[in-house]
Structures are given as structure tokens and as C-alpha cells.
Symmetry: C2
Subunit: 298 residues, 2 copies
């Protein structure tokens, strides 16, 4: 079997014309090393599309349904047609099943607004690949810098056209903050609102441990609702840690007993320094969380 | 000759390894209707790249050098390698020369961070196409709505990682505001900073006429330095209108004697209403500006 696999969906969205008369849910395998996207696809000309990254651990797709639900929410926020989740389930499973077994892998789903002038047909694919090895990062932790996201904490309510909370392909800023972090000797960034509240990582959610509570920024702050964060809260409840959503001042990060950036592929990366200042890592809880995430069967 | 043309650059950036020993400046024509972009290209997965759109009027490339200079500035803001402007000049000319003559056409240049895992080779292409017919828009004008851009007016100075002022492929928000405008019965949006200053259009610059002055928002407000705006200021000086850059309160748009959104392909679109309130259109000056822009020879 190949290392990576690409599945292209022929009908990625619910097509009302065919509903009830046997919707077509076709997909086809394609060569991921060959060109597959048109230069007029709005995905590349405008970053106009959405994505999800679903981890495959112990051979199973993790948090698949929450990922699909968020994919559909992102589509709605961008006024894209509703993805046909049955078709996506099939394509994701096909891609995941087509690659060499790996300790950890992922499937990335992408849906764009389609090719300019083609009449509104969206583009969709699922790409499967083994994951990079994050063992050291999970053990040693990451240095982060706090960076201004430029937006007030209430932007999702006041200005929905800014697409805060949608997982879009327009991630140039999410990449730029990684370069800014690297210039400052760090590996990742934690976004802070222009009015001083903690938001999220560049492609991850922030969780703090404060005593026997796990606290994450409120979901109404224009951040992504984290599938991994949600799983961790479920796991934590079973070991006596209460999950909470809160409006957190920037200082809460330095003050917390422990802190992580959590995401689907890297899982829980403990934060070992903030803006150059070392902070405690909770090695035991980190290991427990990552063991749970890696081995989790859905 | 075909209607559209696509030229792919083999060496879109200055490669220090080969400088001085005969840099390769190769390009090749490709089928614009066929897939040409990899699904792992950062241009599509992250909107991580830059673009320019250069108008072709009376058979000549308009403001080519200012566009190339801005392309290079955008690359620098994104920490991309410096584009090889000689190679781009050749590719742009080849694309423009390969399509059927049209009253108005454009060449779009795209440079992305390249394919993930491919070792840092960027992707670059130039796409030529006839322009849509904007005669009615230029004559009748456009209705606009003012929409919060979410950022303070000083963001480019305080937070360069937000890439304000770079012409990136991450334009999902620039597309979303067009949908928001349409929902409100308008054709375009004028961005306003979170602290109340006029910024720019979704893909255009704003010019106001106030008596015998043409006024546009200052270039240090995290907006794009407009090539068309700059050309118009040059033209206006010749007919007794003084060009000025200023920090403009939102109310200046309603108070101006005339207002336009100006861009490379649509040229000067007079604003006939703002947030549902009609405002005067300067038909004579609009026609003069557009005649100048369409016929301009560089």
C-alpha cells in the first residue's frame, strides 16, 4: 500500500436535485503527487474553502463526528453548500484505509468554493498520510509566544463576515505567527485578543490546569471549538478534573499550574515557556492525556 | 489563439545558487482548464502565497512595474523568497500575448510557498484572460456598505504577523464581505477599522473627491498601496486635482463630493450609495478617469 492516499469526491455537497431519488456518493482515488487542483479554484486564488484534520490512532478515526459537525458549521459560516456528510464519511474511510498502517496517521478534508466560472460546483478531497513523530514535543513541551490576533474578543458576535470560528483555507496569518514565533526562539504562538484575552494557538486550542480544574477560553471568542479539547474534557472528568470555559485574561497563562496547546495530530503539547519565561510542565497529566488521545477508539 | 492562457514558471524566485552563472528563466505554457496545482500546495491548504492582477488595456500591460514592486513587497511581508522579476516580466508578457485580443484583459500572477514537504520550492504562474464588461458599473456606479475590518488602524505597525498590507491568497474574508454586502442589497464593501477610520474596498482602494482634492486613506493603515489609485493621482494632477493621503473618519465617505472604489480590472467604480443612502456620482470625472485608465500606455 502507498504511504499517502488521495480521494476526490465527485459530489461533496447535498444536492437537492437528487435528494430522495438516490443521491450519488461517488469518489475516486487520485495520485497525490500529481496536480489535482485548477489554478482558478477559489481554494487557491482566494483561500475560499474549509478543512478538517482527523487523527487516526490505533487504526481508528478519532472524533470523526465532531470533526464532520465542525466541517458543516464552517461551511455554513462561509455560505458554502452543506457538505454531504455520508459522502465524506465514505471518502475519509477510503483514504484512511488505503495507506500503510502507521502508529499515528491523519486524514485531511478540504472543500473549496470550486473553480471560478464553473457554475458553483464545489471541490472536495480527503488526503491521508502518516503523522510526523511528536514524541519529543509531547514529552519536552513547547516554547510559545503570545501574539496579538488583532481582533477584539467579541468579534464573532459583532462582525460575522470576519469568519472567526470557521476553519478556513485562509491561514496565511496562522502560518505567519509560526515564523514570528521562530524569530523569537519559540515553536508556537498563543493568540491574544486586541483587548487582552487569551484565545487559541495557531492551529490548536489552549487548555490551562488551575488546581483541579481544566480551563479553556470560551467558544464565543471567535475561536475554533476544539474536538481534541472536548475529548480531553471528557477524559479529565473521569480522573476528577472539572472542565470549564471562561474569559481568561492574558496573565492566566503564566499563572496556571500547567498549560497545553491541544490539536488533532500533535495532541497535547505541554507549554514549557511563555514569552521566554519558563513555566511548569505537568509531565504525568500530559502523558495520561496523550495516551488517552493516541489510543482512543471511537 | 485561445481565450485564456496559463504560463507556469520553473524558477519564480531569485536563486542565489545560480546568480551570476546564467540564471534559468524558463517558463512553459500549460492548459488552464486542466489541474495544475498539488493538493499539498500551501497556496491551497493555507492560502499561503501572494498575487497581483495586472490590467491589459489597449494591448499594453498597465502599471506593470508598480505591480511587480508590490508583488515583491508582499513576498517580503510573508518571508517568501524574492520573486525573480525578470522571470515574471517574461512570463506575464508571454501569457498576455497568447490570448485573443480583447478590449480589456488581465494577467493574474500567483506565487505560493510551494508543495508541503518538497523542500521549499515555491509555485508560480501567470494566467491571462479577457476581463468582464464593467461598462455599466463604471457608468451607473455601485452601492456599498461599510463593514468593520476588525483591526485597529495601526495594526500594520503593532502586529506585522497579521500581514496587513500584503496581497495574500488568504482572501476568504474579502469574499465574505461581498456576500454580506449582497445580503444588504449592495455590490461591494468598504472596510472600516475597529476604531472608526476608512480603509479600503474588498479588492480595491477608496478615493474621495473633496473640492479640488482627491483623498485616499494613508498607506500606513494596513491597506494595500493601490497601483490604480496611484495612477489616478498622477492623472488628476494634470487636470488640477491635488492627491492627498489622510487618516479619514468614517463620516468622510458620506460627506465627500464624490467617491470611487478603484482597482486594476474594474478601474474606477463610482459609489452611488453608502449603507443604503444615495450619494452624488461625478459622472464627468469618472468617465475621464476610466478613459485614462483603459487607454493608458505604459
Amino acid at each position: 500500500m502507498p504511504q499517502t492516499a488521495l480521494v476526490i469526491l465527485d459530489d461533496p455537497v447535498i444536492d437537492s436535485r437528487f435528494e430522495g431519488v438516490g443521491a450519488s456518493r461517488d469518489y475516486r482515488f487520485a495520485d497525490p503527487s500529481a496536480a489535482q487542483v485548477n489554478v482558478l479554484d477559489f481554494g487557491v486564488t482566494r483561500g475560499d474553502g474549509i478543512f478538517e484534520t482527523i487523527s487516526v490512532g490505533a487504526g481508528r478515526l478519532q472524533a470523526l463526528e465532531p470533526h464532520l459537525a465542525r466541517f458543516a458549521r464552517s461551511a455554513a459560516l462561509l455560505d458554502l453548500p452543506a457538505p454531504d456528510l455520508d459522502a465524506w464519511r465514505e471518502a475519509i474511510a477510503a483514504a484512511a484505509g488505503a495507506i500503510d498502517p502507521a502508529p499515528e496517521a491523519f486524514v485531511k478534508t478540504v472543500m473549496t468554493r470550486g473553480v471560478e466560472g464553473s457554475g458553483g460546483d464545489v471541490t472536495g478531497w480527503a488526503y491521508a498520510s502518516p503523522s510526523a513523530d511528536f514524541a519529543e514535543v509531547r514529552r519536552e513541551g513547547i516554547a510559545v509566544v503570545t501574539l496579538d490576533r488583532g481582533y477584539r474578543h467579541d468579534i464573532a458576535k459583532t462582525s460575522p463576515w470576519l469568519l472567526a470560528g470557521a476553519k478556513t483555507l485562509s491561514y496565511a496569518v496562522n502560518r505567519a505567527v509560526l515564523r514570528e514565533a521562530a524569530k523569537r526562539g519559540a515553536e508556537d504562538a498563543v493568540f491574544v485578543s486586541s483587548d487582552g484575552y487569551l484565545l487559541e494557538g495557531s492551529t490548536s486550542n489552549l487548555i490551562l490546569r488551575v488546581g483541579d480544574r481544566l480551563v479553556t477560553p470560551s467558544l464565543d471568542l471567535g475561536i475554533l471549538a476544539g474536538t481534541t479539547q472536548n475529548d480531553i474534557f471528557g477524559f479529565a472528568a473521569g480522573i476528577g478534573l472539572r472542565g470549564e470555559y471562561a474569559l481568561l485574561e492574558q496573565s492566566a497563562l503564566a499563572d496556571a499550574d500547567a498549560a497545553w496547546l491541544v490539536s488533532s495530530v500533535r495532541h497535547a503539547a505541554p507549554i514549557r515557556s511563555v514569552d521566554g519565561v519558563e513555566r511548569p510542565v505537568d509531565a504525568e497529566l500530559t502523558a495520561a492525556i496523550n495516551t488517552f488521545l493516541i489510543g482512543r477508539r471511537v
